[in-house]
């Protein structure tokens, strides 16, 4: 029996990071923009209440900014990356294991707690992450990842839970939640599946949980069978399950042995970045930013521990391996330190957008359009060759170290936690 699994999800993460250092933003509608194409990538609850959707271009909000006092900020990934690492660190202190799922969502292991203690434990996590880092989170604990996702949604949206929801298998609470949850809100059930399931008369999570998993497998897929089992309380989804539809793409692997060799680590990061870019193209997405992490072996307390991470934002959403590789290399250079023995390295592509619905940048020209088409063909050829002839038939050489990674960031807040020159001011009056 595997212990309960938790999902800790930061509320409106990017906006919350900004609010930690600008309390005046509390209670106001705040949006965070992608730097280059100027559309909304994160919203405060107040901004959502005004009906502003994700992806809305900034210029469409000019009126709201004037009349409703909407605050729009450029994204500050350096800050978000640091705050995410802090949240993870607090969780590491409180839990048996932490697996980041994305920059603002982390799975935790609830091993070693009795059912009665679990509620207190979840409350403590909820309170301490907020206290220590300033980031409000919701905590969902349940028997499986799929149920933990649902518990987390409930913790966030059902006022009675107030940010913490512990589901015990088979409890009336759990059953009621499953009955209220439409299948489209279940982790890993896409809208096409929802339509097919509706034809079978299955509409809610409870409907799916009541099915014989074997029947689901024969009618649909192993993936959905697993989802059904997970809803029933049997854990069967591991992290990085490759069949899950992805809102972020992660490639990571442990080194064969502990290493501090920068070249070796760099090679691994490049491979992971390249592999991630392939997955990105396979699912027709583009990424806005690249997240790189290293881990030392936490089960070796005799060794110095250092598990850093960094995010580099891409100039524009892209699925081109080259800028992704370049960004990953840059991130690695920022975090790598000699003298530590690293166990694992990984690359995560975050803030994905649908490649076909990508907003064109204001700076777009026919020239850039032509470039982009050429790049698309190049990448498609690359993927085909690697598919036909085996992975790594064609790989990219080292990116040239032309460091022209200029970001346009008119409304970017200072990098409060990572730059000495940009520390927040505290007034003594």
């Amino acid at each position: 029996m595997i212990g309960p699994v938790g999902l800790v999800d930061c509320n409106n993460f990017y906006v919350s990071c900004e609010r930690v250092f600008q309390p005046r933003l509390e209670g106001r509608p705040v949006g965070v923009l992608s730097n280059n194409d100027g559309c909304v990538i994160a919203r405060s609850a107040e901004l959502k209440a005004l009906g502003v959707e994700m992806g809305t271009p900034a210029f469409e909000l000019r009126d709201l900014v004037r009349r409703q006092g909407v605050v729009l900020l450029s994204s500050n990934y350096e800050l978000y990356g640091d705050m995410s690492a802090r949240v993870r660190e607090v969780l590491e202190e409180l839990c048996a294991g932490v697996e980041p799922y994305s920059i603002d969502e982390m799975f935790i292991h609830g091993d070693g707690f009795s059912r009665r203690q679990l509620q207190d434990h979840a409350q403590e996590i909820h309170r301490k992450v907020r206290r220590y880092t300033g980031i409000p989170v919701c905590v969902g604990l349940a028997a499986t990842r799929t149920l933990a996702k649902l518990a987390n949604r409930a913790a966030k949206s059902v006022p009675g839970y107030a940010g913490v929801c512990v589901l015990s298998p088979g409890s009336p609470d759990a059953q009621a939640l499953l009955e209220k949850t439409p299948l489209g809100d279940v982790w890993g059930v896409g809208h096409r599946l929802v339509e097919r399931l509706a034809l079978m008369g299955l509409h809610t999570a409870a409907d799916l949980a009541a099915q014989d998993p074997k029947r689901i497998r024969s009618h649909f897929s192993v993936t959905l069978e697993r989802t059904a089992r997970e809803l029933q309380g049997t854990p069967c989804i591991e992290m990085n399950d490759t069949n899950r539809p992805r809102d972020r793409i992660m490639t990571s692997r442990s080194f064969g042995r502990l290493t501090s060799n920068q070249d070796e680590i760099h090679q691994a990061i490049r491979q992971h970045a390249q592999r991630s870019a392939e997955k990105l193209r396979a699912q027709d997405s583009k990424a806005r930013a690249v997240y790189v992490f290293l881990k030392t072996n936490r089960h070796r307390p005799d060794l110095a521990q250092y598990s850093p991470s960094a995010i580099v934002e891409l100039d524009e959403p892209t699925d081109d391996s080259r800028p992704i590789l370049h960004a990953a290399t840059q991130a690695l250079q920022a975090i790598y330190r000699p003298n530590y023995l690293f166990m694992k390295a990984g690359v995560m592509l975050i803030d994905l957008v649908d490649a076909n619905r990508q907003q064109l940048s204001l700076l777009d020209t026919p020239q850039r359009q032509a470039d982009r088409e050429r790049n698309d063909r190049l990448m498609a050829t690359l993927d085909q060759l690697n598919q036909k002839m085996g992975r790594d038939t064609v790989t990219l050489g080292r990116p040239s170290p032309k460091a022209a990674w200029h970001l346009r960031c008119a409304n970017r807040t200072p990098r409060w936690t990572t730059q000495w020159r940009e520390l927040p001011y505290v007034t003594a009056r």
Binding site: Q22, P23, R24, T133, V426, A428
Partner: protein, 144 residues
């Protein structure tokens, strides 16, 4: 390019917010004499930052805390994991602004006070909501 030598064979395990010991010493190309003194390096991070995940640095502007040894331009080491007690120096949120004050009880009531008598104590309505963090130390650098 000479290999960068580090005086400390196992650098401190503390992650950000502290600057990493990149340039602390021993940038020369010859073997570090510090190897013989393993464990003797004093680390200010270790001394000043007890809980890295909850520790933030802030720059002071204004002069109201001068009598308490906090001056314009100083860097505060602020720890959010500490329960505030009377006598602590706090970073508090006042009118949407981050402000440094001393937490005191006058009679039975909690107040935020300045080091400078020109500023009247401000009663605290809700400690939990108004406290941002507790100041652990002040870094005051002299022009040299």
């Amino acid at each position: 390019m000479p290999k960068i030598m580090h005086p400390h064979p196992t650098p401190t395990p503390l992650p950000l917010p502290h600057p990493l010991p990149l340039t602390r010493a021993g940038l020369s190309g010859f073997p570090s004499p510090a190897q013989d003194y393993e464990g003797r390096t004093l680390d200010l991070n270790e001394r000043l930052v007890k809980r890295p995940a909850a520790t933030f640095f802030m720059t002071v502007t204004g002069d109201s805390m001068g009598p308490l040894g906090i001056h314009e331009g100083d860097i505060l080491v602020v720890d959010r994991s500490i329960d505030p007690r009377p006598g602590h120096i706090l970073v508090a949120m006042l009118d949407g602004e981050l402000t440094v004050k001393r937490y005191e009880r006058i009679g039975q009531r909690p107040y935020l006070c300045s080091g400078n008598p020109r500023y009247t104590p401000i009663p605290i309505a809700d400690l939990e909501c108004q406290v941002w963090g507790v100041v652990r130390s002040v870094i005051h650098e002299f022009p040299v």
